[in-house]
Amino acid sequence: MNQYRQKYSLAQSGELAHRKSIPPSKLMVGHDFSQEFKDQPALDPHGDARQLVRLVQCRSCSKPLSAPVTLPCGHTTCRACLAPTRPRDNISYPNTPDRQYGITCKICDEEYPTVECSADVTLTKVMEVVKQTIARVQDTPEAPVCVLEEIPVSEDDVHDSNDEKELTSYQGHRKEFRGGRLHATFQMASDGELRYNSDVQYRASPSDAQIHAHLDAELFNGLREAAHSELDCLVCYNMMLDPTTLPCGHTFCRHCLVRVMDHSSICPICRAGIHIPPIAIQNYPSNGRLVALLKSLSPEHVQARVEALESEEDNSEGALSTPLFVCTLSLPNTPTFLHIFEPRYRLMMRRCMEGNRRFGMVMYNRSSAPQGDLGPTSFLQYGTMLEIINLELLPDGRSFVETRGVSRFRIKAYGQLDGYYVGNVERVDDVPIIEEEQLERQEVLEAQAWADAYVLENPQDPRTPENFPGLLSTDELFRRCIGFVEQMSQRSAPWLSSRIVNVYGPPPDNHKTFPFWFASVLPIAEEEKYRLLATTRVRERLLIVYSWIKRIEGQRWPSGNSCSIL
């Protein structure tokens, strides 16, 4: 018995050790946006011509971007320059055809399912107007000659196929154009004779250079005007602030996207589903190219918007705006029925009904355990936002309230209002699907390695998912849980009676929500179910639920010595 228990808990702790989260730095291309823009000097169309052209050059082929695709990491290349698609192994959820093949970003090596590698609609349009505007000044026969010499720069982080040898032997091109630097440099890149990393040395007599500077300023203004209308956000009609590109290829201001996602989770333009939780949008990578373009085309505009937004946010931050009902465990997507009789909660319900009909449900903190930064409060820090579906007011002022869980939250701060608690809450959502996928792969591979090593030392123990639950794919975990429910319902388990199913519905065929349903019907301690509220991954929830099932099975069929596990 002890041996099995030890093994099981080892398997469990091994599993826990795999639960590494992605380092925040990886997700934070767009963080602290305002700092990035403080004191950012504007680029000069003449002096910084080389840098300006680089903004629209592809890092792979070095030509001006053609049919640009921006990946979820915020990096952009031409569609033709994307790495070839490859099957994505060890990922079982979500199992849709458009997520079975992936493309690896050549710049950061992250892999994304093909469905998230769409044409960048805004950049495509910007590139169109850039090319058109520059084509209009193509022939300036009266302009003085500008000589350009390419200075190759070898960088350690060059990701192209060029190896060391090729780089050192690369000579660099020399070109002559009639016209300003900006136009000439763009032309050289279009001809494929200016590498992304290369610098350029310009030669012209001082008087010619003056004319060039004038032409550059003119062209730059033309570009700025032409690109301007393409850089407006279709939600706020302002120039995009911290442009964030969705996997469908449409771009909005980051804060507009956050607001949109308070209301729905589809792209405002194409209505494609957004599989990124609202909270993760805050740290979702910005579109690096668009950020750089906006910064150089309209720095003063960007700065003004950053300041306007900051003052707006100062006003709303930290409000204790969520009423808190301290009572029981509620779960998302499931109903909770309440009988309201205390005057303070009657008042709270009345206010909710006049407002957005929502309040937070939290459990008592029976053990007085410290709740994060809040300390040992009388309630637990994670809760569920409930929406009032129906309120039946009795003549004596009591009421029966039917609610439904809409989302989970964590309390960041709290206070009291007329006898009840109010809190400043932060939504708890699942990590983006892409991260869910990456972590499934990582964990399964690690569990395999761990199980192999364990079995090597303990050859008597079979390498089965019973001993090593971490070996199970997310989908397999889900199937096993569903299988257990079916089995129990055939055995007429009382917690699956028709009365229960009438209230909570049949088990949802949905990996994400199944654990909440299961927890609602299963007769185990609320404190255990509470663990689900803090989860941020589908796999994490399924593993918790699966561990309950293993325990119940152990209790039900005390075979051999394994009856006292856990």
Binding site: L234, V235, C236, Y237, N238, C256, R259, V260, D262, H263, I266, P268, I269, R271
Partner: protein, 149 residues
């Protein structure tokens, strides 16, 4: 509260580049409240009519759709007695990328293509299905009576 840039820009565009057959003018004392008129589309029973509507942009516009209703009486299966309109883009299919202009165009299109299968005014929809010619005739009469320019 200051008027969001988006509403200012939409209003400017509605004034400077009006849509043929549609006008929308904000109230001077409430720039979120618009007086709207829509010409009945040609070759529809509403042809020749000028329909008045009111449109209001709620505080969280464009996250939520504009509120809009007919003030002129109209006989239409998707518009009820109170002038409320049954149009998906005004409800579940709203998207913040839509705008006042596109909504008004959708309403104009709805006048040209009534949809009795998705009714708001049940009695009208039933008439429309049972005897379309009679229903169209009634719509024409109502237009003559109530929607004179």
């Amino acid at each position: 509260m200051a008027l969001p840039k988006r509403i200012i820009k939409e209003t400017e565009r509605l004034m400077n580049e009006p849509v043929p057959g549609i006008s929308a003018v904000p109230h001077e004392d409430n720039l979120r409240y618009f007086d709207v008129t829509i010409d009945g589309p040609s070759q529809s029973p509403y042809e020749g009519g000028l329909f008045k509507l009111e449109l209001f942009l709620p505080d969280d516009y464009p996250m939520t759709p504009p509120k809009i209703r007919f003030l002129t009486k109209i006989y239409h299966p998707n518009i009820d007695r109170l002038g409320r309109i049954c149009l998906d883009v005004l409800k579940s299919n709203w998207s913040p990328a839509l705008q006042i202009r596109t909504i008004l165009l959708s309403i104009q299109a709805l006048l040209g293509a009534p949809n009795p299968d998705d009714p708001l005014a049940n009695d009208v929809a039933q008439k429309w299905k049972e005897d379309q010619n009679a229903a169209i005739e009634t719509a024409r009469q109502w237009t003559q009576e109530h929607a004179k320019p």
